[in-house]
């Protein structure tokens, strides 16, 4: 019926999967992500040998692992991006349920790897962080609920999704993993904002966040020290942040040269949270700006493509995924340049880490699936959309 009426839309039943995918997928975002991954391998070559040496492996042990996981992540991303939004939703919700149970079981079966927070399952050959997989699944599930609440006689999806968010945030905060908890909360907030949150409520929430921050500052010494360290203009050069700032300064515009960097020997998290400092030191501002531009391109392009999306579910889910992806990168880099207080967060696709790579691949795959070009309702909408774009 629709095919007959809206035949002008470039969708034909029975079109082969790959050509259809190639025609409709956002090729710009896809290439940006692939480039980010390539940069990640390049930086891994620089940043991970010290870690390998510390742990007694050959220098490029972690680069090899990163390539293997990265390959898997790229595959997952491509396969996911070929799925239809409906299939994505179904699988994501199933995956979300599995990850949710896994997260709930962490206190009983998880391990902390001696880092003080129980966040991982040890699988022998690798470790698994369920919260990484939970995030994309959560976004999809919450988007589904929010979208459903807009239907006539739909369920109270806003309330449900809010309750779910709070449950997950509490579970993450108890690990404790405040970074992921903030990301989840942020993802839901963005979706709620796009789905039409009243402005007054948003203001109230902003006030609440500030108040919560002040309570945390006063009650948690760990948290307070980080904030103090951030507000203090003279950064102690022996902290990770101090090393990172100095590395960025050392690097200058064109870097000190490949393999010449020193910061990777001093920073324990050089291959994860502070990889941007390694990039800045060895390759200079040039590479850093390229990385920032790539993230910016993926996020902004995805959001602009979602603007003309008619389906509320796809719009919300895509928004959530894109924003989470962008905000994670933003926080990571913001910490390194001291725009934000220190918070351990990986740089998606660039930092080392199996779970985060594969989960990131799946998340971006979903995002690509949601931002594919597809028929958009009535002819007027299409015309209006084209006029805008």
């Amino acid at each position: 019926m629709t095919d007959m009426v809206y035949g002008a839309v470039p969708v034909q039943a029975g079109e082969p999967v790959l050509p259809k995918w190639w025609r409709t997928v956002d090729k710009w975002s896809l290439s940006c992500v692939l480039m980010l991954f390539g940069i990640g391998i390049l930086l891994g070559l620089a940043a991970s040998p010290p870690l390998a040496e510390r742990n007694g492996f050959e220098p490029f042990h972690y680069v090899m692992r990163q390539s293997v996981f990265g390959g898997a992540a790229m595959l997952a991303m491509l396969i996911t991006s070929m799925m239809s939004p409906l299939l994505v939703r179904r699988l994501a919700v199933l995956g979300f349920l599995v990850a949710f149970v896994a997260l709930a079981m962490l206190p009983f079966f998880g391990t902390d790897f001696g880092k003080g927070a129980v966040r991982w399952y040890s699988l022998g050959f690798a470790s698994l962080q369920p919260s990484e997989f939970l995030k994309p699944g959560f976004v999809v599930a919450a988007a589904w609920m929010l979208a459903a609440s807009q239907d006539i006689n739909g369920p109270p999806g806003r309330l449900w999704s809010f309750a779910l968010t709070i449950a997950i945030v509490l579970m993450l905060a108890l690990q404790p993993d405040f970074g992921q908890a903030c990301l989840v909360l942020f993802g839901w907030g963005v979706m709620y904002f796009v789905s039409g949150a009243p402005i007054m409520l948003l203001v109230a929430m902003a006030v609440l966040v500030v108040a919560a921050g002040m309570v945390a500052y006063n009650s948690s010494e760990h948290f307070a020290r980080r904030i103090d360290g951030f507000l203090n203009p003279d950064v102690d050069p022996t902290t990770q942040l101090g090393y990172a700032s100095n590395a960025i300064r050392e690097g200058g515009f064109f870097g000190v040269g490949v393999g010449e960097g020193q910061v990777k020997w001093s920073l324990p998290d050089a291959h994860t949270d502070f990889i941007i400092a390694v990039a800045a030191e060895e390759y200079g501002l040039v590479l850093v700006l390229v990385i920032i531009a790539l993230y910016c391109a993926v996020v902004v392009r995805s959001l602009l493509r979602l603007m003309r999306e008619r389906d509320p579910f796809i719009r919300l889910a895509g928004t959530g995924l894109a924003c989470m992806f962008g905000v994670q990168a933003m926080i990571n880099m913001g910490v390194a340049v001291r725009l934000l207080p220190a918070k351990g967060m990986t740089l998606p696709f660039v930092s080392y880490g199996g779970s985060s790579l594969i989960a990131g691949g799946i998340a971006v795959g979903m995002l690509l699936a949601f931002t594919r070009t597809r028929p958009q309702g009535e002819i007027g909408d299409i015309l209006r959309g084209r006029g805008r774009l």
Binding site: P237, I248, R249, Q262, V288, I292, V300, L304, P312, V337
Partner: protein, 595 residues
């Protein structure tokens, strides 16, 4: 806004008339209304998505700009790799009373290795052992080829050594600047200065902390940046310290003693001008704490401050001075010295027979134990205790050394009448030579208590008067006689022109198992000079001296400590600018000519 009712009556009635289902109209209206609502949400979402996109764009731009700003700025300071915060190690100098350097800092370098940057670790280890023979090649090779990323090799280097390490040409060997503490006079005043070591150290600097002596006591003050490097001025005189160490060392060797101590104190102010403890050490490489043997025999043990000994007959003058002060006797009162004096099971004996009775002056000059014990009986335990406590004999000396608290006097648990009698001649109470010096200073300065100090005092700080000036003067006359009188126990102590006054003391050393050795003594000479206007107190103590003289093994202070003290005064008095008071003799060979 005009809203279409869901069931417009006109259309419903019309439909009913035509026999159609009116619900279709309602459903159609609901669908339209929903469509309208969705369009509205979509328009709003479009706007909000645009806002989000702009926000992200701006945020990323800000981060990029900030990165650019940081990259454009210079690094905070060119720091050594792996370097930490700069530890400011500017430690104040220590100078003597004339401002001569006793302790200062020197720029030096430490040597460390980054094995991962080494090209030929085995060759480097061999070359290093060639430069520093004390290193172990096998151990170094193991460290350099192992997994460690950082290895300290040497804490301090001389410039020659540094050049030699440079010449190895190994990029994995690195130097870190640091300041080290230097004691340019070597072992002179070793026990006073104490020593220091590196505390918090990294490759860019190291903290020097004092661990003993003045360095330990004033550690905080010396490190205080608010001092701005103002030196710490001690009361020590480097020349006197060096001369007294010199003479005391020769005396210790000559008298076959295993240890010796001396204190030279200004009687008015309590300032210590020189203080020696032998054997000593070099504070530039302070020996490690004693692990075997008696800790008192270790070079780092400060005999003058930490060593508490029964100082024997030197205490007699306190007894006689107090007896005079209380008006119980005068210097000529005859005291019954028939012996032995029995008290319970104990017998108090004299060194030899001095007759039936002696005047108080002679009791001191001859050093009669029985006579002094009789005086103590007159004074009584309570008054004796009070007097000795006022002289500071009951607690450790307040001198500014970390070791001072270790020199706590040993007192009888129960101050019985027998204790009173033995303490009157210096047995049953153990004090440090410095305590004794402070006690003699009170006699020398006319009866005022002084607090021994190592810090230069701008002006005398008069302590409480414990003796009248007259009884102090009478006591000094007795002490002068001990040296001057041909029968005096310290007649070897006469130094022409400087009117030495003093008292000997020879105490048997206690056995660690209880009881006393009969062939090991602590020989002490406590002196003050010049007797007519006493300005200085000198205490000399020899540990286990033994000398062959006039065909006899002699251990008493008169034969051992006194000659050493006399030699010290001979050497030091001119250095202090004391003018000798030589009685005018016949001016042999000089004729005064009027033209």
């Amino acid at each position: 806004m005009i809203r279409t009712p869901l069931r417009p009556l006109a259309r419903i009635l019309d439909a009913r008339q035509k026999g159609e289902n009116p619900d279709v109209i309602e459903r159609e209206n609901i669908r339209q209304r929903h469509e309208e609502m969705r369009n509205k949400t979509r328009a709003r979402a479009e706007g909000r998505l645009l806002v989000l996109g702009l926000m992200f764009f701006c945020a990323f731009t800000v981060i990029g700009a900030r990165m650019g700003l940081m990259a454009a700025s210079e690094p905070a300071e060119p720091r050594h790799r792996g370097g930490g915060a700069v530890i400011s190690a500017q430690r104040a100098d220590i100078v003597d009373r004339q401002g001569r350097i006793l302790a200062t800092n020197m720029e030096t370098h430490s040597l460390y290795a980054h094995p991962h940057q080494m090209i030929e670790p085995v060759r480097a280890a061999r070359a290093l052992v060639g430069i520093f023979p004390e290193l172990n090649e096998e151990k170094l090779t193991k460290l350099f080829t192992g997994k460690r990323k950082f290895v300290w090799v040497k804490k301090t280097l001389s410039p020659e050594q540094q050049q030699a390490v440079h010449d190895i040409g190994e990029p994995g060997l690195l130097f870190g600047p640091r300041e080290m503490r230097l004691y340019p006079n070597g072992s002179v005043a070793a026990h006073i200065l104490g020593g220091s070591r590196f505390d918090k150290e990294d490759v860019s600097s190291a903290d020097v902390v004092g661990i003993a002596g003045v360095e330990g006591f004033f550690d905080k003050e010396l490190r205080d940046p608010a001092r701005q490097g103002a030196p710490l001025q001690l009361s020590i005189d480097l020349t006197l310290q060096s001369a007294s160490e010199d003479v005391l060392y020769s005396g210790m060797k000559l008298m076959n003693a295993k240890g010796a101590a001396s204190v030279l104190m200004d009687a008015q102010t309590g300032e210590i001008l020189s203080m020696v403890s032998l054997p000593d050490f070099d504070p530039n490489s302070r020996p490690h704490a004693a692990t075997q043997g008696h800790p008192d025999d270790h070079p780092t043990f400060n005999r003058a401050v930490q060593g508490v000994y029964e100082l024997g007959s030197t205490f007699k003058i306190f007894t006689s001075a107090q007896a005079l002060d209380l008006g119980l006797v005068n210097p000529d009162t005859m005291i019954d010295i028939r012996g032995p004096l029995r008290w319970g099971k104990h017998k108090i004996k004299d060194f030899s027979y001095y007759g039936k009775e002696l005047p108080v002056t002679k009791v001191i000059v001859k050093s009669s134990n029985i006579g002094t014990a009789r005086l103590a009986q007159m004074i009584g335990a309570a008054r004796q205790k009070e007097f000795l406590e006022a002289l500071g004999m009951f607690k450790h000396t307040p001198v500014e050394l970390t070791e001072a608290s270790g020199g706590k006097p040993l007192l009888p648990k129960n101050w019985s009448e027998l204790s009173t009698m033995t303490i009157s001649y210096g047995h049953g109470i153990s004090t440090s030579p410095l305590h004794l010096a402070a006690g003699y200073a009170a006699i020398a300065n006319g009866g005022r208590v002084v607090e021994p100090t190592l810090i230069k005092q701008p002006k005398p700080k008069p302590g409480p008067q414990v003796l009248t000036a007259a009884s102090a003067e009478a006591s000094r006359a007795m002490l002068r006689l001990v040296v001057k009188h041909p029968d005096g126990t310290a007649n070897f102590g006469e130094v022409k022109g400087y009117a030495v006054a003093g008292k000997t003391g020879t105490a048997d050393k206690p056995k660690p198992t209880g009881g006393y050795y009969d062939d090991r003594v602590i020989a002490t000479f406590a002196s003050l000079f010049p007797a007519h206007d006493p300005r200085y107190v000198l205490i000399v103590t020899l540990d286990e001296p033994e000398v062959m003289a006039l065909g006899e093994q002699r251990r008493t202070a008169g034969w051992t400590a006194v000659p050493v003290a006399a030699e010290m005064i001979t050497r030091m008095a001119p250095l202090m600018g004391l003018r000798p008071q030589v009685e005018p003799e016949a001016m042999a060979g000089i004729t005064l000519a009027s033209q």
